[in-house]
Amino acid sequence: MRSRRRPTGPARVVFAAVIAWLALLLVVPLGALALSVAGSFSAVVAALTSAEALHAIGLSVGVAAACIVANGIFGVAGALVLVRQRFVGRRLLDALVELPLALSPVMTGLAFLLVFGRNGLLHPALDAVGLQVAFAWPAVLLATLFVTLPFTLREVALVLEELGDSEEQAAATLGATGWQTFWRVTLPNLRSGLVVGTTLTSARALGEFGAVLVVGGGIANRTQTATTFIHSAIEERQEPAAYGMALLLAAVAVALLFVLQRDRE
C-alpha cells in the first residue's frame, strides 16, 4: 500500500499549480454554465421541453443507443479477428480501425456526403428504392457509427490480448464447442473492455457535432441532435436553450465518467 502524504515543499507548489489548472479548465466553464442555467431556470426548462429540444434529445439518445449495440457486436467480432486471426493485411486493418480517431469529423461528414449526397455515388441507387440518407436520420446514424467505431473494438482488443487464449484452450479440452466457449468463457471475460468501450462510445456519440452537422444539416425536428441544437440555439441567440442543453450533456458526460471510475474499482 502506498502511503498518502500531504504535499510539502516544492510538491506543494506543483500541487497548487495542478489544482489551479484543473479549476481554470474544468470547474470555471462548467460552473459558469450551471450559474447561467440557475439564473434563468424556468426559461431553460421551457426551452428544453419544447418539441424541437425533445426531438433532438431523442435523436441523440437513439443514435447513441444504436451505436452502443452495433459497436458492442462489431467491436467484439472485430477484436477477435484482429487479435486472434493471422492474415495478410491484418496490421493495415489494425491501423485503419483507428482512422476515425485521426480524421476531423468535418472531413468524415464530407466523405459521407460524397457517397450519399445529391450527387453522391450511391444516390441513384438509394433514390430508386426511395431511401433518403443525406439530411435524414440515417446519415446522422452512419456518421456517428463511423466516429465511434474504434472505442469498443480497441478496449475489447486490449482485454483479449491480455487474456491470451489459454482459457479457451482449456474449454476445448473440456469438450466445449466454439459457441459454448465464446458465450461462457470468452465473452464474460471481456466485460471490463465492453464497459469502458460502451462508455466511451456513448460519450462520443452524444457529443459528436461536426460530422452530424455536415451530413445531417441540423434540421430541427429531423436531423437536429443535442449538439446541433446547441449550435443553432447560439446562432439564434436562444441562450437558455443553449445553456440548458449544454448543461444536460455535461451532466451525462460526468455520469458516464463515474460509471467508468466505478468499474475500474
Binding site: S166, E167, Q169, A170, A171, A172, T173, L174, G175, A176, T177, Q180, R184, V185, P188, N189, R191
Partner: protein, 347 residues
C-alpha cells in the same frame, strides 16, 4: 486406457520442434516427458490433446485414431502450467464446466463437484473465485476440472512449475497418490528430473525434438542410452579419457567401460556418487573445496594429470571423508562410468 504416438513431426516455421517421436503408454501408467526447456516436450503433449496439429504422424487412444479429431472430441484432460482456470467462475463452476457443456444433469454435476472437491482436499472452497486461492489450490482445482468429465487420458504440462518448492514437493507425492487412486493414464511434462524420477513409472527423455530414451527411472540413471541422457540426468563429471585394456583412463585413473575401440578418445561420464575419494598423500588429485549441503558433502578436487576438475558427493558421515580437507591429496576411484567416443577426435 492406452495411448500410442507414431512418428509425430511438428515444425514451427523452419524449425523442427518435434522430430519423429514415437512411444506408447500402457493403461494406468504415469509417464514423464523429461528434457531441457524448449526441447519439444510440451508440443508433443499439446499434439496429443489436439491443441496443436501435427505436421505428420498419428495419435491413437484406446485403439482409435484421434489425430484428426478436434480437441473437444478427444476426451483428453489437460492441466495447464498456469492453470488457465476460468477466472469469472467459482471453483465449483470451473470443475463442473466439462460436465455442463456436455449437458450432464445439474444434480449429477453437483455430485461430481462435491466428490472431486473432497478428493482434492478442497472441501468448502467450491464457492470461492480462483483469484482467492493459493497457487497449490489453483493447481488442484485445475486437476479436478480436467478429471471431472472422466477423461481417457490426463495430460499435465509442467504441472508444478508455477508453485514454490515446498508446495511442489507435496503436490508431487499427492499427484502420485491421486493417479493410483483414480486409475487414470497420465503423461506429464517436466524439466525437473527429481520430479520425473520421484513419481513417474517411466521417463521419456526428449531433447531437440527427439526421443532420446524411454525407461524406468533406474534404467535411465544406470543405463543411459546416449551421452546426452547420461549428462542430463544427475550431477555428473564429464572427463576426456583414452581406452586402454578395456578401461577408460582419465589422468591416471581407470574406469571400467564396454564396447569401445582400443585407443579411442572418449568422453567419460561419471556421476558424483559413483566416485570415491579418500586421503592419500600419493594420490592423483588435490582437494579444492569441501562443502556440506544438508545431509551430503560435496568435494571438489583437481585431477592433476588430466588437468580437469572433478567432484564427488558423499553422505555426511561417510568414513571416506576422514581427513579430507581443502589442500590435501586424495586417491580417486571411479566405481561406475559410461563412455562415448569424443565427437571429431582421432582414434
Amino acid at each position: 486406457m492406452g495411448i500410442r504416438v507414431d512418428h509425430l513431426v511438428k515444425n514451427f516455421g523452419a524449425t523442427r520442434v518435434v522430430n519423429d517421436v514415437s512411444f506408447e503408454v500402457r493403461p494406468g501408467e504415469l509417464v514423464a516427458l523429461l528434457g531441457p526447456s524448449g526441447g519439444g516436450k510440451s508440443t508433443v503433449l499439446r499434439m496429443i490433446a489436439g491443441l496443436e496439429t501435427a505436421d505428420s504422424g498419428e495419435v491413437w487412444l484406446d485403439g482409435e485414431r484421434v489425430d484428426h479429431l478436434h480437441a473437444r472430441e478427444r476426451q483428453v484432460g489437460f492441466v495447464f502450467q498456469h492453470y488457465a482456470l476460468f477466472r469469472h467462475m467459482t471453483v465449483g463452476e470451473n470443475i463442473a464446466f466439462g460436465l455442463s457443456v456436455r449437458g450432464v444433469a445439474a444434480s449429477e454435476q453437483q455430485a461430481r463437484v462435491t466428490e472431486l472437491l473432497e478428493v482434492m482436499g478442497l472441501r468448502g472452497l467450491g464457492d470461492r473465485m480462483p483469484s482467492q486461492l493459493s497457487g497449490g489450490q489453483r493447481q488442484r482445482v485445475a486437476l479436478a476440472r480436467a478429471l471431472a468429465p472422466r477423461p481417457r487420458l490426463l495430460l499435465l504440462d509442467e504441472p508444478f512449475g508455477a508453485v514454490d518448492a515446498k508446495v511442489r514437493e507435496e503436490l508431487r507425492r499427492w499427484l502420485r497418490k491421486l493417479h493410483d487412486e483414480v486409475h487414470t493414464t497420465s503423461i506429464f511434462v517436466t524439466h525437473d528430473q527429481d520430479e520425473a524420477f520421484a513419481i513417474a513409472d517411466r521417463v521419456l527423455i526428449i531433447s531437440q525434438g527427439r526421443l532420446e530414451q524411454s525407461g524406468s527411472p533406474v534404467e535411465i540413471l544406470d543405463q543411459p542410452a546416449t551421452e546426452f541422457v547420461a549428462r542430463f540426468v544427475g550431477d555428473v563429471n564429464v572427463l576426456t579419457g583414452v581406452v586402454r585394456d578395456g578401461r577408460a583412463w582419465v589422468g591416471g585413473v581407470g574406469a571400467e567401460v564396454q564396447g569401445l575401440a582400443e585407443g579411442a578418445t572418449v568422453n567419460v561420464v561419471v556421476r558424483a556418487y559413483d566416485l570415491k575419494f579418500w586421503r592419500d598423500d600419493e594420490g592423483p588429485a588435490t582437494v579444492r573445496r569441501v562443502m556440506t549441503i544438508g545431509d551430503r558433502v560435496r568435494v571438489e578436487a583437481w585431477l592433476d594429470r588430466a588437468a580437469a576438475p572433478i567432484f564427488a558427493q558423499f553422505p555426511r558421515r561417510s568414513s571416506l571423508l576422514h581427513g579430507v580437507e581443502a589442500g590435501c591429496r586424495i586417491a580417486v576411484e571411479i566405481t561406475q562410468a559410461r563412455a562415448w567416443p569424443t565427437p571429431g577426435a582421432a582414434e
